[in-house]
Amino acid sequence: MAQEHSHDHPHDHDHDHPVLKYSDDSEHDYDETARYPLMAEAMRQLLIEKGVVDADRVRDLVEFMDSRSEAIGAQIIAKAWTDADYKKRLLEDGTKAVEEFDIPMLGAELIVVENTPDVHNMIVCTLCSCYPRTILGLPPDWYKSKSYRSRAVIEPRAVLKEFGTDVAADTAVRVHDSNADMRYLVMPMQPEGTEDWSADQLADLITRDCMIGVTRPSVPETVAAE
């Protein structure tokens, strides 16, 4: 029982929340007594007790994080594909254009780079793992990996092949090392045959990996056959 223990320290656990606020979450299959789950929770508790941060604010920030996903980026790109004026605004000033969707950039600025038959863009952050989190959610593991961070700049075409993406020799590969105050989003090319699709239909084709620039959107065969 979580509440039967006694302890000397002067705080009282919030009875609405178990010792670890995620300890009743049946979804997880990791050991919450391992070093890092304990460390995160210890820092959370101490900073709340010391009045440095507010428990509700921490909860709100987790919720905000959970509300961010590739669906947001897909919505933006689909809008740009179906609205030439929006596309122009998005390419000219990404930060301002995503504000129209109430997306904050939290101090960074957004640059949207457009794929064309002549140019294929891909994003990396070699020094850490900078990523447009308010638009795509948290970055995937491979984006943070030593392999991707090391190799994306020196052999982008080989890396793209590992994602199943072949870029023609006469198409320039443009790598963007996201190393300072800008964040990047790739606007993929709209697949052929989708010209009369609605923005919502198009959004389903636009994946996170397309917007990082390691894959291209494709029309599922079942749809294409219709």
Partner: protein, 101 residues
Amino acid sequence: MNDGPVSEKLYSAGDQVRIAQTNPPGHRRIPGYIRGKNGVVERYCGAFPNPEELAYGFDGLPKRHLYRVRFRQADVWQDYDGSDQDTVDLEVQEHWLSKAD
């Protein structure tokens, strides 16, 4: 107090620039692979607090001009295996740049 940059920006899109080949200790946002390389200013990004100061708890002011610089991959890596048109872009604070002709 003026939060803006100390001086007018020195470069514009299209300018040929060189990244300083230097290795000072401390927190720097210029990756090793790009130091000492020549590129072309792709755009001016604006002025931002200096990360080299922010990293030590200072306010990073005055702000530094920031540019996106485009490098030909063939100029960055020996034996680059790709197209001559392939490029890599990075953001560089003005104090890391000098004119290259």
